[in-house]
Amino acid sequence: MIELRDINRIFRVGDEKVHALQDIRLTFEHGEYVSIMGPSGSGKSTLLNILGLLDKPTSGSYLLDGIDITSMSDNQQADVRRNKIGFVFQSFHLISRLTAAENIALPLTLAGMPPKQRDSRVRDVLESVGLTERAEHRPDQLSGGQRQRVAIARATIMRPTILLADEPTGNLDQSSGESVIEVLEGLNREGIILLVVTHDPDIGGRARRRIRMVDGRISEDDH
């Protein structure tokens, strides 16, 4: 379970203060499927970054599975990020010189897992995203949809609590976007919290819970 309590995030741009997030209060239960929509600059990405521990709130607290994360050290936060949070980016962020399998194994490698265990985990995940045949291909030998599925496999290999997807279909055509969303929804059915930030109302509308943001505030939270 994830709980955000009165999260504020203020950026300083020159002399000006920009209130990117204002008093955000949110709770996500296990297995929830949430979409966050809103115009550019409404704070969607900032919220996502804070949920992903890539950014720190100016005030407020963030509880993940009952533990307050805001007060943790950088190294502890890195640990949490590795074990409990998965990211899926609009531009995939695969490392071009590594094969699909190596890209997927990266979180396990960082965690110091021996190669044998890594390989079997990677095989399982590759199968679940339907890319067993492509394991040894490099990103530039894969289609956009395939690349995003590799990225999803990498995001889920540590079996995280929450999967944060930032415009996961933004760089994809209709049909591969569809297949990527199906993979994500499949993972959600297995219990992972799926949080999708998107501009696309079709994709946002598929979520069971839809949050709208305007000017750093939550304007709608539709359960």
């Binding site: 190294n75 640990d79 949070i85 990211f87 962020h93 490392i95 979180p107 960082l110």
Partner: protein, 401 residues
Amino acid sequence: MRLVDTLLYGAGNIKGSPVRTFLLLLAMSIGVASVVMLSSLGEAARLYVVNQFSALGTHLLIVLPGRSETAGGAPPLLGTTPRDLTLEDADALLRSPYINDYAPIVVGSAPVSHDSLEREVTVIGTSASYARIRELETAQGRFLPAGDYDRAPPVCVIGETLRKELFGHRRAVGERLKINDRRFRVIGVLADSGQSFGMDMGDLVFVPTPHAMALFDTESLFRIIAQAAGRSAIEPGKRAITEIIRERHEGEDDVTVITQDAILATFDRILKALTYTVAGIAAISLAVAGILIMNVMLVSVSQRTPEIGLLKALGASQDQILVLFLSEAALLSLIGAASGILIAWFGVFGLDRLFPAFPLGTPVWAYLSAVIVALLTGIGFGIMPAKRASRLDPVLALTGR
């Protein structure tokens, strides 16, 4: 993260930009190669001098007329001579139980002729013991005969070069030659023993001491070489010589006794210092290579900013990123050091072929220090870029900013 994985990751990055890696390795290996080669040369020079000294003979003591002044004045080897060093002085040295043998030396230059051929060569007046102490061998005939100075016969022993020039293919032993209008009979030819301290041992004439004294019209000896009874007799022998000469020279300490070991130790120290100096100068090129590493790593950090952001998003800690980049720098310097050692090895091999007489060999410390210095510079200069990478803000890094 496991060490193997860290290194593999770094190796992958290094392979990813071959041109940059090649240039970097070139700089690094030139640095390492010059350190190794220059220290090899320095070490070879040291060995060369040590060998030359050892070729002089064993347990040598050299007695020079004149006292070495430590306060101003002329340097030791050129001290003034208040009293001559005479043959009687030399003879008296044998009174000491520490002295086995001695040979007086008188040196001068004189024209040596046979038939119509004439050469100006160095003439050394000495005794039979000289050959024994200096471990000289004759190729033909024998060395100067032992016996009383008063009854020394007018004979000479010549070097191989001189023999060739004066006698060509004819037999030299038994022939007569003239030194400064005095007649000598050739009784031996030295075996070709090459150079000794720049003095061509082939271009010499040895005559009995009294004849040399007569030739150069002098009563004093240029020096005396004495041989101590053993290694442990060198120091007491030195004291005994000083004692004997002082007694004979009315209480004046007017000779200098040099031991071979002391000279050797001095040269050894000087040449070692020299070796370290040239190696140090060569190490400057290593520092330049280090700066190059820093530069390349900085470029690499800015090029790979999104990758660093991704690694952070995947849960890499600051320390992990730091270690990743440092190991890349270390890997680069290690490969650079390895190829540098290879280059140096070929260089030394080539030089060895060109100058076979020069005892070239690379000391182990040269390899070790080159590798260690290369690693330290690589890591040292890698710290700044690696720190920069580890401190990148993940959100900005992911967008490539």
